[in-house]
Amino acid sequence: MFPLDYHALLPEIILAVTVLVTLVVDLTTRKKYLVALTAMVGLFAAFVPVLTLAFCDSLEFCAAAGVDRVLFGGSYVVDGYALVFKGLFIFAAFIALLLSIGYLEADRYYEGEYYFLLIASALGAVVMASSRDFVSMIVALELVSGPAFLLAGWRKGDPRSNEAALKFFITGIIALSLLLFGVSLLYGLTGTIQFDQIAVASMAVADLPLFTLAVIFVLLGFGFKVSAVPFHFWTPDTYEGAPKPVTAWIAVGSKAAGFVGLLTVAYLAFPGVTEVWGPVMWVLALLSMTVGNIVAIKQTNVIRLLGYSSIAQAGFMLAPFGAAAASGADSLSQVFAATVTYLVIFVVMNLGAFAVVIIIGSRVGSYEFEDWAGLNRYAPGLAIMLAVFFMSLAGIPPLAGWFAKFAVFQATIGVGNWWGYSIAIAAALNAVIAFVYYAKVLKPAFFDPVPKGVDVEALEAAEIPAPIGFALALTAFGVIVLGVFPGVAANLGQYTAQVVAALGG
């Protein structure tokens, strides 16, 4: 009677219902915290089936029930790879939600539709993780981006917020049209939009210049989404202008969704033609790391600095793609795992960095890090948290960031050709450059005296709002656990890489 595997679709169904319920709750009550609460409950509820699906894999009776988690004729697949990222996206949306609650109340803009849009964007990301053809992937990508465009312009009266939304929107549309153009060429060449079929059909047309063009268009479309240099121009302005919790979502959730799309397309649709896209990604990785880092050194605003830092991090995540050029099927799954490992750690530590920056920024009333001088005199706890996340971003053990970088080095060198060696050397040099600007933020906070005219007692007395404090605690816990037990992230990487390994074998 009902031919769908509803268990496999449950996270999406719950999120979709949550989207509608938040809208209804917003209409029926003036107490806006109820809307946030609904959204939070929905995210929790959606996380449950992700867990049951993940453990169903290893249980005899569940797998024996004949549940094939390939839906809609192969367009939608719920496998380990999809589940890891569904969980990650729900986590990211949850943290973004926690960051938003206090911020929006202080901001006095509309609240109800905000949560509605945030959950809708999260739903898009969750769908993205399972998409295995171009149509569902583009729908998912737009479901992530569409609400994010609106959220970026949330502060209607603020010209900067408007500028942020407009820049984000225009580049988003350009990216989409590039992507669609590439997809149309691919469809013309292979006669299919499904990834596994493209993987087979592309072998026959791999030598054609038109095919190269199509692949490059598709990957460049994603290049905008993950803000790789030279498609990064929107990033700092959008990050600075958008409301800060939205920035956290765009910089982490939306970006990770872009990376998931890139991973799926590159490794599942074009696994046999790495020599076509590998060199392109190598160039993008090199440019993103270098330009992102060098420009970040000159920044004085912490949010812009995090923007450029995230461009550089995108470069690190692209480095394994670059090393994939001319590599065998075995090392293909290794470079895939490295990007996934980095992505998992990136999500946790960047959300944490945004959480602590938002707390400090709203307390001090400025996002210029020179104004944070003497932070450790009046808020030692926050100063330590700032140090934890920025040192993690810089890659200092035992915080999670070091393992992310280590995984990238290991995979790129492990490929064993000059594509891999060269990008590993570039990444190592960049890791050193990156340390400069992360330390630059910490220096005034720890070593400079409190500026004159600052009411230290008021700053000391200020309290951290509970939701955002909880977000900070969660991410700090995550960063420390992932740093001390790097096996967790590495196993997630290997677990997801099965999807690529299965292809090679």
Binding site: M1, F2, L20, L189, G191, A201, M203
Partner: protein, 142 residues
């Protein structure tokens, strides 16, 4: 069409590709012809038309009514919201027609209830959009 079934041999795919480019040659030919024809018409009229400038020739519409007032005109922003609301019903109709045509077929293979429930879900989602608009006072004309 250029598309073929999945695995194609190399030689065959070159053929496919040639067809693919051929399609573009048609497009290019049309474009070139378009430019040539329009260009020819303009040049021709330039060459053979008699010229008598001045007088009535200088008014905006040679044989129409003189325009009055400004070229810009304000239309109420609310029209745009009504257009959006119209979209709800347009989308609804687009999906309802093929669904209604196929419902008997779905019933015959035992999926009638499934098809009905799926469409109801879709309608409820769209209906919520309408309720939202009404609650926000969009339909009030002030």
């Amino acid at each position: 069409m250029a598309g073929t079934n999945a695995p194609i041999e190399c030689k065959g795919s070159i053929l496919v590709l040639n067809q693919y480019y051929d399609d573009y040659i048609t497009v290019a030919a049309f474009m070139i012809m378009g430019f040539v024809l329009v260009g020819a018409a303009v040049m021709m009229s330039r060459a053979i038309a008699p010229r008598a400038p001045g007088g009535l020739k200088d008014v905006a519409y040679e044989s129409g009514i003189e325009p009055i007032g400004e070229g810009w005109n304000q239309s109420h922003i609310r029209y745009y919201i009504f257009a959006l609301l119209f979209l709800i019903f347009a989308v609804e109709a687009i999906f309802l027609f093929p669904w209604a045509l196929q419902l008997e077929y779905f019933d015959s293979i035992g999926m009638g209830v499934f098809a009905l429930v799926e469409m109801l879900v879709f309608l409820v989602i769209l209906f919520l959009g309408l309720i939202y608009a009404i609650r926000k006072g969009v339909l009030k004309w002030e």
